[in-house]
């Protein structure tokens, strides 16, 4: 019996090679990628270098996402195959095989194809693992280790377990649907005489609503933190909107075109409009999936490429100097105490540098104060209660009448920008730090009257300071700064009064020595702090190279994950397109044979086929382009939290162009299958 099953199964597979080969390849690719991700988690060569902690976390995250994607894609392919082969199974049934025999044949078939794809996947995984780890080393800007793993048994077993579970699920699903089917249904040819689709108004309106809501969120949200929170809401809305509009909206448009007689009754329109109507009914979900997968790939690659390529620029913006540390200040009994003076700080730093053969080339101090005010007319008041203490509950991120103002002195401004501003005692310079459009001519605060005499275009503070909320910068002269400082000190007891007093320094010398210096400084500050009864954290020492390394590892991991996930989405897209072309081809073959008899010439037929296929396959790409454009709006705000670089638009553009080219390549490869079937 087993021999019979195997023979029948092999026969069935051989006849349907065209259907199974793409499925086997794409599953193998997913298997390989998951194996690579798992293996990287356990890569000894990476474990002890920098980034060793990150890669594991990111790869596990990737494995979770890929498992879900694989489940969806394998199920899609499986359902497609089942649909195609139902007739064949039905024939077996009519010829006298019981359903349990068919289930056994199916089991053998599945075991064969799955074994092939797992073997192929393992081979691909091992083959490309080395390449993947080289990419990781390159992204992390590390020297390539020579002890990279060749085969990780643990990773292989984990990957196998996940795939076997997915395969088992699809098999059970197939058995259930086979048992529930009637023989006549098994035999029924795929789709003869389907009703012309009706406009599903509810779905159409829901689709418009969802897409509108998603787009509205994406286009109108101003504040980065809110954008972060609402991004996933917008994504979900757009996904639903896309599915609904592809199913209902497309039919709506086509019906409109059809009802316009002067448009419809033209040779080039009549055939394609009715053909499209027919197509959309069967393909809406598939096309929506392509559009969403493509958007996912575009967004993933655009953001991760931007983050990675923008590291240098971002670091240059955020950390113009080699090292920073805060001077501890606190408000205690209405008094600000400085832990150490500028001279003390410089002396300590110099001492540490001397012992390592380094030189301090630049040293300075920058001071800023950040405090929320309530805006009433031209008055900025620190309180809305009578006792002078602050009492409004500061949810000032969302309150329009609360302005968070950062003060710096002209001295600090000169240090930050290299430009000198001279301001009188009743003057200030003004800069927007966030998207609020408030631009006062004059303000009254803390007994002062300040005129806005100069608007600063470029934010002089490193933008990590405040992109959130209604944040503004006031530059005032030294006397006014002192005045505000002492007034605020009188009023505030709580931490609302954020004073940031920071030393910065540039160091010259060998890179390795600099790292050593940083460790020394950190240790010294720690000891100093402990002696005073606090920890090192309060000084918050930061060094540029450390920040840079952190970004390289973090953004490099994100980029790597982005590339792998994009590859999976990409293969899924290709698979869907291929299967679509195949089914379309068989569906259309009949139709075009009839048209030829009715009097359509071969070139005319070819032209209509082309235009229909082009429309059907390029609508998803166009939709993905529009989605990405809209997503750009919200993503650029989220990106402002992560990086200060402004290459996001450029990266998005480049990624879109490259993606489109590859899409066209997949399309024309698969279109060949279609033409071969039709003609």
């Amino acid at each position: 019996m087993i021999k019979f099953y195997t023979k029948t199964a092999l026969n069935g597979l051989k006849k349907n090679l065209k259907l199974y080969v793409p499925q086997i390849i794409s599953t193998a690719v997913m298997f390989a990628i998951m194996y690579i991700m798992y293996s990287l988690c356990y890569e000894e060569a990476l474990k002890h270098s920098r980034g060793g902690d990150y890669i594991g976390i990111f790869m596990i995250l990737g494995v979770v996402v890929i498992s879900i994607l694989s489940l969806v894609i394998i199920f899609y392919a499986n359902n497609f195959l089942m649909k195609q082969r139902k007739r064949e199974y039905g024939l077996y049934h009519v010829l006298g095989l019981e359903k349990k025999h068919i289930i056994n044949i199916m089991l053998v078939e599945n075991i064969i194809t799955h074994t092939v794809s797992i073997l192929l996947g393992t081979a691909l995984g091992i083959l490309f693992y080395r390449l993947a780890s080289l990419v990781i080393f390159k992204l992390y800007q590390l020297e390539v280790a020579d002890n990279i793993n060749i085969l990780s048994v643990r990773a292989l077993i984990y990957t196998l377990v996940i795939f076997v579970i997915i395969y088992a699920l699809t098999y059970i699903f197939n058995c259930v649907s086979l048992v529930r089917l009637k023989t006549t249904e098994l035999l029924l040819s795929a789709s003869y005489g389907e009703k012309e689709p009706k406009i599903k108004w509810i779905v159409f309106i829901l689709g418009l609503a969802f897409l509108g809501a998603g787009y509205y969120i994406a286009l109108t949200i101003e504040k980065p933190m809110e954008a972060l929170g609402f991004f996933f809401v917008a994504v979900i809305c757009v996904i639903f909107g896309t599915y609904f509009l592809f199913t209902a909206g497309s039919i709506f448009i086509l019906k409109m075109l059809k009802s316009k007689k002067s448009y419809y009754y033209k040779p080039e329109h009549m055939i394609s409009v009715s053909g499209m109507l027919y197509r959309m009914k069967q393909n809406a979900a598939g096309l929506a999936s392509i559009a969403i997968l493509a958007t996912g790939v575009l967004i993933m690659l655009a953001t991760t490429v931007t983050l990675y390529r923008g590291i240098d620029e971002d670091i240059e913006n955020k950390f113009p100097h080699d090292m920073y540390f805060n001077i501890r200040e606190w408000s205690d009994n209405n008094r600000v105490a400085h832990d150490f003076t500028e001279e003390e700080g410089l002396a300590a730093l110099k001492e540490a540098c001397d012992s390592l053969g380094l030189k301090v080339t630049n040293f300075g101090k920058q001071e800023s104060m950040e405090i929320p005010f309530m805006l009433k007319g031209d008055d900025l008041i620190t309180s809305d209660s009578d006792d002078g203490g602050i009492s409004f509950n500061y949810n000032f991120v969302s309150r329009k009448d609360v302005k968070s103002i950062t003060f710096i002195s002209t001295d600090t401004y000169a240090i930050l920008t290299g430009e000198s501003l001279s301001l009188k005692n009743d003057e200030m310079a003004f800069a927007k730090l966030s998207r609020d459009n408030w631009a006062p001519e004059k303000v009254n605060l803390l007994g002062l009257e300040l005129k806005n005499v100069h608007t600063i275009k470029k934010n002089p503070l490193s933008s990590s300071v405040a992109e959130v909320g209604n944040c503004f910068l006031f530059v005032v002269n030294g006397d006014v700064f002192e005045h505000i400082d002492s007034e605020l000190t009188k009023k505030y007891v709580e931490e609302l009064y954020l004073v940031k007093s920071q030393f910065f320094a540039d160091i010259e010398g060998e890179e390795e020595k600099k790292m050593e210096l940083f460790q020394t400084i950190r240790k010294n500050l720690n000891e100093y702090g402990e002696a005073k009864g606090t920890s090192c954290n309060i000084y918050n020492p930061a060094m540029r190279w450390e920040q840079q390394e952190e970004e390289i590892i973090l953004n490099g991991s994100l980029l790597f994950l982005g590339i792998l996930l994009s590859m999976v989405c990409f293969f899924a897209t290709a698979l869907i397109i291929y299967y679509k072309q195949l089914t379309e081809g068989y569906d259309d073959r009949n139709r075009f044979q009839i048209m030829e008899k009715v009097g359509l010439s071969k070139p005319e037929i070819k032209k209509t086929i082309r235009s229909q296929i082009l429309t059907v396959f390029f609508i998803p790409l166009a939709v993905a382009g529009i989605h990405t454009l809209v997503a750009y709006s919200i993503l650029s705000k989220i990106m402002s939290l992560l990086t200060t670089t402004n290459i996001f638009l450029l990266c998005t553009g480049i990624v879109f162009v490259i993606f489109s080219l590859i899409y066209v390549a997949i399309y024309s490869l698969t279109a060949r299958t279609y033409y071969r079937i039709v003609s």
């Binding site: 009754y265 009549m270 009715v598």
Partner: protein, 253 residues
Amino acid sequence: MKMSILEVKKLQKIYTTRLGGHSVRALENVNFSVDQGEYVAIMGESGSGKTTLLNILAALDRPTSGSVILDGMDLTGVKENEMAAFRRKHLGFVFQEFNLLDTFSIKDNILLPLVLSRVPVSELQGKLDPIASALGISDILAKYPYEVSGGQKQRAAAARAIITGPKLLLADEPTGALDSKSTDSMLETFEQINKNGQTILMVTHSVKAASHAGRVLFIKDGEVYHQLYRGDADNEEFYRKITEALTVLVKNP
């Protein structure tokens, strides 16, 4: 004197296998002509060359030698890229399996050849209405092929075939897929179309279908073997004559 609309002279078609080893003579030497307004049926057994003949007449295939002249135009001289337009303009087709497009409503199926010939939208309805009512399908125009019966489908196909006012209507086993009731009404439809002046050439197996024609040509081994004119005979009498002729045809190898 009646004008002949179709003249077939010394038609020969030889199929050779790809390697040239074998050759099959599908049509040996076919000669006949069809007059304007005539209703001709062609009968013959499977393999007699009927289908080949029809394909050549339909300009779907080309003869090895000989000529087909439709209303003064030599079919064999029409260029490949003008074939489709020629078919659309001068010929109408009715097939055994209807060949209606499942993506079109009955109305759009009938209008398709007109639309392909770029007839202005304003004229479409005017051409459709009389034909639809003559064929009794006015009330199913909005439906789709799968929603109507086989007889209705075939009448829709006939409507599509004659809407362009073709010089010749070619029918390939038009009743082959119909039940007897639909067959009767279909044959009546054909007679009616013919009475309105439409020349019809029908290829059929069915004696009943042939007995509605004005003349029957019998094809055997790639040649016109015999022909029968209806004369004054009614359908039943003609039916008997055709049967007799067929019997003779089978007896003489």
